[in-house]
């Protein structure tokens, strides 16, 4: 009753003072919120929410509206839960020209699209630190491809994509020297540092990625980007800051100018130039890692060439649109006509008109140039400005009814406004300091709408304290009515930046349950227990092992010596959903395995001391799970213990192997 009173009072207060005054946590939630997020035991959520992991390098998957964590997909970081990056099959996924990088920073996600709508096939993710783009298969929720980017640093404006997933884009947050001469004074930024935008083509059927071409831009920081859609399909838009070209104390030096730019790239024209041989072939090196489904193994290939396009030579592919004060978000509305630039230090939100941009370009109505690139006139291409939206606009998502939702970092709120009229319609406080936000399908031609999720940068007192390091706070709002309603707080892992949400029906029925053992083409598969064996070649010992409830075969192995390179290739013979087996052996510094039904996974072990090494299944699989164990005997180097293995009875291995 007291709560109800408080709530009514606060509603009254809000009605009287529709300013951006913070409501308290207690008053922000209305009475029926719980029933709107309650998903009964055994029932499914309505949406998948793919959330970037930020500094943990992974992607997490939540159900909405419940906010329940369903899975963590390892992408750019090793993952102790399932052996990603530890197993021999997956190490190549994390390979780069600088070797295996076990931990990166994952910022943005984009679901593949067809005709500007989500198609539920793939999820793309960027590595922000060592520039890479990954593709995740949404039938297996597995990272299946990682492409490193040459001539790149700080891959921030990525992996946004065109409306038929023709290209995934990767733009540089850090300008760096490109080409042979990399060892230059930092103070030579203006002359030696360049920004690049990579256009990564995506094969329609296989999803295979390839750096089709790069556009080289003057040195500055490319921040975020979006492709045009509908009428603006064929264009890509990037926000920029540090067009001052500072190389130190950017906090001050990159905020001097009243306006930075939104860069508009005509990618269809650039594509035509690249195909016509108008680009330069540049010698570079970058890794291309592919996980092969049938062999269940990844390979890493070094690519050696990239095509670069120079807008100073190809005059009609790049234009600059002045945009106030270090724009961050650069978002295109569902109609494709409006481009929203969110100047994070500005007190207004400019909205540009695609039609006006094209008209100005056609009329060559420029105010000058920036390092040789034509600059359009702000007022000529402006649709209008959202006045006094709040402080620190960052990102904008859209619903299907012509409304935009912009996150306001400084004033810690979501502001709803009408794209055409530019009128502010509603504001809802966030707890605290919202960064990205996500409306299901809110970046496509056909938003699902219904909810907006805030991914907040500060958590403070939202959950039980857990020492200095806290879970990140996400918040779910109902946007089906005129006013936004806070429904739920839910903690997230890592530090979410951008996220995507898609109707569960688009994915759930395609989800793979098992790998068909008969299609397993792993070079070290043991097709049934009959084929379990141990093979020695020099100091390499390959153990073809099988796992099924509730034994490993072989479960006794002798004749392995100190310093041998022992490979446990464990095949899970189960063909039932949700029956993985695990594998661990004592004193192995290289972790453990988790093996899905029908899969073969390999763990390398180099024993350093003679003795008995127990191994066992680490994933509770049956009533006799505790019995699922075995022993490896390791003898001193040079001893003559013969190679033998078995389960039940021991088989000797011919000595000449």
């Amino acid at each position: 009753m007291k709560k109800f009173l408080l709530f009514s009072l606060s509603l009254g207060a809000v009605a009287l003072l529709p300013s951006c005054k913070m409501k308290t946590a207690e008053t922000a939630v209305s009475g029926d919120a719980a029933s709107k997020v309650y998903v009964a035991p055994g029932k499914y959520d309505e949406f998948y929410n793919f959330v970037s992991g930020g500094f943990n390098g992974q992607v997490s998957v939540y159900g909405l509206p419940s906010g329940r964590l369903l899975k963590i997909i390892p992408v750019f970081s090793v993952f102790p839960e399932n052996g990603y990056g530890y197993s021999e099959e997956t190490k190549a996924m994390l390979n780069t020209t600088a070797g295996l990088i076990p931990w990166d920073d994952q910022h943005h996600l984009t679901l593949s699209q067809t005709n500007g709508e989500q198609d539920g096939r793939w999820l793309f993710a960027n590595a922000n630190n060592t520039p890479r783009v990954a593709r995740i298969d949404l039938t297996t929720f597995k990272t299946v491809e990682i492409l490193q980017l040459p001539n790149s640093a700080g891959n921030h404006s990525s992996p946004y994509l065109t409306e038929n997933t023709e290209y995934v884009v990767a733009g540089t947050r850090f300008a760096v020297p490109i080409g042979e001469q990399q060892d230059v004074p930092i103070s030579s930024f203006k002359e030696n540092f360049k920004s690049t935008v990579s256009f990564i083509s995506v094969d329609k059927n296989s999803g295979r990625m390839n750096v089709a071409f790069q556009v080289v831009l003057p040195g500055m920081d490319l921040d975020l980007s979006r492709a045009g859609k509908g009428p603006s399909h064929g264009w890509f838009f990037f926000s920029t800051y540090n067009t001052e070209q500072a190389n130190t104390l950017l906090e001050v030096n990159a905020s001097e100018k009243d306006k930075d730019f939104i860069v508009a790239i005509n990618w269809q024209k650039a594509e035509a130039y690249a195909k016509a041989g108008k680009g330069k072939k540049m010698k570079v090196q970058y890794a291309h890692n592919v996980f092969h489904e049938e062999e269940q193994s990844a390979t890493s290939t070094t690519e050696t060439e990239v095509i670069v396009l120079d807008p100073n030579e190809l005059k009609d592919i790049v234009y600059m649109i002045p945009c106030p004060k270090s724009p961050h978000g650069c978002d295109v509305d569902p109609s494709g006509e409006y481009i929203v630039g969110s100047g994070k230090l500005a007190a207004l939100i400019p909205v540009f008109s695609y039609q006006k941009i094209i008209k100005a370009i056609d009329a060559k109505d420029f105010e000058g140039d920036y390092q040789g690139i034509p600059v359009l006139k702000y007022n000529t291409v402006l649709h209008g400005e959202v006045q006094k939206p709040g402080l620190g606009p960052l990102h904008t998502e859209f619903d299907a009814n012509g409304n935009a939702y912009t996150s306001m970092f400084l004033s810690s709120e979501i502001v709803k406004w009408n794209v055409k009229s530019l009128e502010v319609l509603d504001r809802a406080p966030t707890y605290y300091s919202i960064g990205h936000l996500c409306v299901p399908g809110g970046d496509t031609k056909k938003p699902w709408g219904k909810y907006v999720i805030a991914y907040n940068k500060i958590t403070k007192d939202r959950y039980l304290p857990t020492g200095p390091e806290l879970a990140q706070s996400a918040q779910l709002y109902d946007i089906s009515g005129e006013k936004m309603k806070l429904l739920l707080d839910f903690p997230t892992v890592g530090e979410p930046h951008y996220a995507q949400a898609i109707a569960a029906d688009m994915i759930k029925d395609k989800s793979v349950k098992i790998y068909d053992i008969n299609k397993n083409k792993h070079p070290y598969v043991a097709m049934g227990e009959k084929n379990a064996k141990v093979v020695r070649k020099g100091n390499r010992v390959d153990i073809y092992m099988t796992a099924i409830r509730s034994h490993l075969n072989p479960d006794n192995i002798e004749g392995v010596y100190v310093g041998d390179e022992v490979y446990f290739h464990v095949t899970n013979l189960e063909q039932d959903w949700d029956v993985p087996h695990g594998f661990a052996i004592k004193n192995n510094p290289n972790a453990e395995l988790l093996i899905m039904p029908g899969e073969t996974v390999t763990l390398k072990f180099v024993p350093e001391k003679a003795g008995i090494y127990p191994y066992y299944c680490t994933d509770f699989c049956s009533a006799l799970h505790q019995e699922m164990q075995g022993y490896l005997r390791v003898s001193p180097k040079g001893s003559n213990v013969p190679l033998k293995f078995g389960t039940g009875e021991m088989k000797a291995v011919a000595a000449n192997q």
Binding site: G528, E529, Q575
Partner: protein, 164 residues
Amino acid sequence: MHYKHFFSITFTAGILFIYGCGGGSTQQADTRETPAATPAGETGTTAGTADDKKGIGKFTDVPLTHPLDAKMVTAGEKTYDVKCGSCHKLSEEKLVGPGWKGVTDRRTPEWIMNFITNVDEMLNKDAEAQAMLEICMVRMPNQNLSDEEARAVLEFMRKNDGKN
């Protein structure tokens, strides 16, 4: 995993029980390893011959051919090697599951086919299957055999039992 058995009929030790579980809610939770909860007195612990016991599943009549179909025997053996041999010996010896020697005398062809292709429901409801579970203490995995593969395995069992 969820099942919708709006109405299923089970014969147990000659007594007719009617299970009507709307939406599969309360009865016999489909947990993987907990032996299915069975009301007292319902468990048939006599595993012997079962001439007319066909089990639960879509197979109500599996015609046998004579002589054995050699192609099916070969295919069945191949499947056995990959999916069954880890737990079932071809002798009478029990490993994880019972040895296969004599299985085609102990069970009807329909029961075998239903058990292979409809493991979970059989283990949850079929008295004979439940009796075996009490002995083996490991639920037989659903190895996702197609109907064709299951039939081939049956042919291989018949061969193993010296049928022709």
